[in-house]
Amino acid sequence: MSQELTKELAQKLLGIKGEARGVAFKTDREYVLRKKGEEYLKKVEKELERLGYPIKYEEIKSMDFYPIGLRILSLLVIKEVLNLNDDAIKEMGLVATKSSLIIKILAKYFLSLQRVFSIESPKIWKKHYTIGEIEPVELNEEKKYAILRLKDFKVHKIMCSYLGGYFCGVAQLITKTSKIEFKETKCPFLGDEYHEFLLTWK
């Protein structure tokens, strides 16, 4: 059941404390352009304008910081304009890793799964968001799974799907697998203290 996008909601979202890197808006833009083209991007921008938060994706600076509420609003508007389901949002997260400038910059450290999981993943998070924290819980390369926790990041439910996909995307860059899935085993919106993602691959 989709949430109705209203100025009130937008305003409420913009009230969330914390910032996100502009690169997230850039990856959103890339997704819309590749999926639907320029026309839909304009529709998205127009909807954001309607909601009182006009964004020109072109002018977004990848390395600058923007309100995390605006980042959530961008996702919600794209979901609505492009009529996306949760799976598509996951895909958005996954694809975002492939066009993210930050990932490209950090990729030089993607020397092993273990390193990325243990060392780089918290850094990657910090490079993207000013709130929340990644905690690597378990990595089993033999059984091909990993467990990550995201703490202090209860912003909007849509981010659960998006981030799950995003984690899969990062994992894909170090596991040489095309089939990687995640399951959010714990979620603050379900009463848990943190998000916990189980990543599995073949």
Binding site: K61, K104, F110, L173
Partner: protein
């Protein structure tokens, strides 16, 4: 506080500049990366594609999202990528290595790879840049080029072959030229020989012409179309004509020349075969005409007419005949007187003749008879030759003449113990003959059959009607006529050598006279003979009236 505020503002601005620069740099890098027309990717140290440009997207058929995160080995053949990776990490730089790119559709594309190892500031390898150049077109071009080269090679080979063939042809041509030269030389030699032969032939021709022109006999040459092609001066004299007036004319045209007419009447339009035929052109010119067909390679190419002037011979012959006639007449009168005187003595009209004398007288009588007979023969011949041997024909029955003659020779036949067979029809048409002359002819034949027959031999006489003629034949079983002498049988004074050997007496005039008698009656005479076995003489006489 104000200073702090100023400082924060300055720092914020600096950050803003940095962010703008970063964004510009990001865009620049992105634009540059996307601009590259050659496929480029960034590969992590563990072989995962971290970045790919649209050109790679295009060449592989994968979308960029599909490419990023994909193991680089999925884009290449395993052996290629293993060697390539090893080489990149070892050499840090790889240029133009040819490998095969695998597309999403499993299509193989030849590419030339360029790779550079990426390192951290600390020198740690963190992956590599990989770019490759599509060799498809180049390969295709190379293949086409190779094909062209092959084609050129084939053409070159063909050209070489052609040149070799041409060379061979040239050699062949040279050979042929030499052959032609040899042939030319041979032809020149032949021509020289031919010229020599021509000169020789001309000389021979001139010689032949000189011979012909100076030949004592007259010569006329007719070509195959029976047109006169040559006449020698002697013939011109004979006929009082000039060669230039008559050469090239046909027989019929020549007939318009009065002097030539007798000759043309003799030889006819077809220039029939004539052998030593007498031709009286005028009183003072008698020619003996012989025609000879000229045959070359089985084809008649013309006729040669030889005219031998026998005027003088004929005159001498006539004079001889006249002499013989006069002498014979002069001799016959006293010999007749002697004959009758001896006859009277032997018959006892003048008294009895003692036996010893009788024998001598009888021998004398027989000798006288032989001389008379000889003189008669000579007279007959003389008359024949003088053309005075005119017969007195009467229409008569031939059989009684024959019977009478046979009857008169019965004693002689019996004496030699010959067996006579006579085959004759009951009746025969009458013939118009001079009985005396025809009797002489039969007599000559019968005498020869008796005289030259062997003892107890046979004589067979056959008389029959055959068409418009009666045919007489007389066969004996005598000595025969030698083959090499048969052509002279009807000539004057001829006697076969076997006849002379057997019978010393004989004038050799009998068959000459017989032949003239038969032919004077319009008949024909001939014979068949085999030496040692016998001879058969035949003659025919034309039937005038049938009974």
């Amino acid at each position: 506080m104000k200073a702090n505020t100023h400082t924060i503002e300055e720092e914020r601005k600096k950050i803003e500049y940095l962010l703008e620069d970063l964004t510009s740099l990001e865009n620049y890098t992105k634009d540059l990366f996307n601009f590259f027309p050659i496929p480029i990717c960034v590969v992590s140290s563990i072989g995962i594609i971290l970045e790919a440009n649209p050109s790679l997207e295009k060449i592989t058929g994968y979308q960029i999202e599909e490419l990023i995160g994909k193991g680089i080995e999925e884009l290449f053949k395993i052996e290629d990528i293993d060697n390539l990776t090893k080489e990149i990490f070892e050499k840090e730089l790889v240029k133009g290595k040819e490998v095969t790119l695998l597309t999403k559709e499993k299509k193989e594309i030849p590419v030339s790879v360029y790779a550079r190892l990426r390192k951290t500031e600390q020198g740690e390898a963190i992956g590599y840049f990989l770019g490759f150049f599509d060799l498809t077109e180049i390969k295709k071009f190379q293949e086409q080029l190779q094909e062209k080269i092959n084609e050129l090679e084939r053409l070159r080979e063909k050209e070489i072959i052609l040149r070799m063939e041409e060379s061979a042809k040239s050699a062949d041509i040279e050979k042929r030229v030499k052959e032609f030269e040899d042939t030319r030389k041979a032809l020149m030699n032949i021509l020289e020989d031919a010229e020599e032969a021509r000169k020789k032939a001309e000389e021979e021709r001139n010689q032949t012409l000189a011979i012909i022109n100076n030949f004592v006999d007259g010569i006329l040459v007719f070509d195959k179309n029976r047109k006169l092609s040559l006449i020698n001066p002697q013939a011109e004299n004979f006929f009082s004509v000039k060669g230039e007036d008559i050469i090239g004319r046909s027989i019929s045209e020549l007939g318009t020349f009065p002097t030539l007419k007798p000759l043309l009447n003799l030889v006819g339009e077809e220039i029939k075969g004539v052998f030593r035929k007498e031709l009286s052109i005028k009183e003072t010119l008698i020619l003996e005409v012989t025609t000879i067909p000229m045959i070359r390679e089985g084809e008649r190419i013309g006729s040669l007419v030889i005219l031998h002037d026998i005027t003088r011979e004929k005159m001498i012959e006539r004079m001889k005949s006249e002499f013989v006639s006069i002498a014979a007449h002069q001799l016959r009168t006293p010999l007749s007187a002697i004959k009758w005187t001896l006859k009277m003595i032997l018959d006892g009209d003048l008294g009895e003749v003692p036996k010893e004398q009788r024998e001598f007288l009888e021998k004398t009588y027989q000798s006288n008879e032989r001389i008379i007979n000889l003189i008669n023969d000579l007279l007959n011949v003389s008359r024949i030759e003088e053309g005075r041997y005119l017969y007195k024909p009467i229409l008569t029955d031939f059989i009684p003449i024959l019977d009478s003659l046979i009857d008169s020779y019965k004693e002689e036949i019996k004496k030699k113990n010959l067996k006579l067979k006579l085959k004759k029809p009951q009746k025969l048409p009458k013939v118009k003959v001079d009985v005396e002359k025809i009797s002489l002819a039969i007599q000559n034949l019968l005498e020869n059959a008796i005289r030259y027959n062997k003892e107890s031999g046979e004589i067979e006489i056959n008389l029959k009607e055959k068409g418009k003629e009666i045919e007489f034949s007389i066969r004996d079983t005598g000595i025969g006529i030698p083959k090499d002498q048969q052509n002279r049988v009807f000539t004057k004074f001829f006697r076969g050598y076997n006849a002379i050997k057997m019978e010393t007496e004989g004038s050799g005039l009998g068959l000459f006279i017989t032949k003239n008698i038969i032919e004077a009656h319009g008949g024909k005479i001939w014979f068949e003979s085999e030496e040692g076995k016998g001879t058969t003489f035949y003659f025919t006489l034309p039937i005038v009236q049938k009974t």
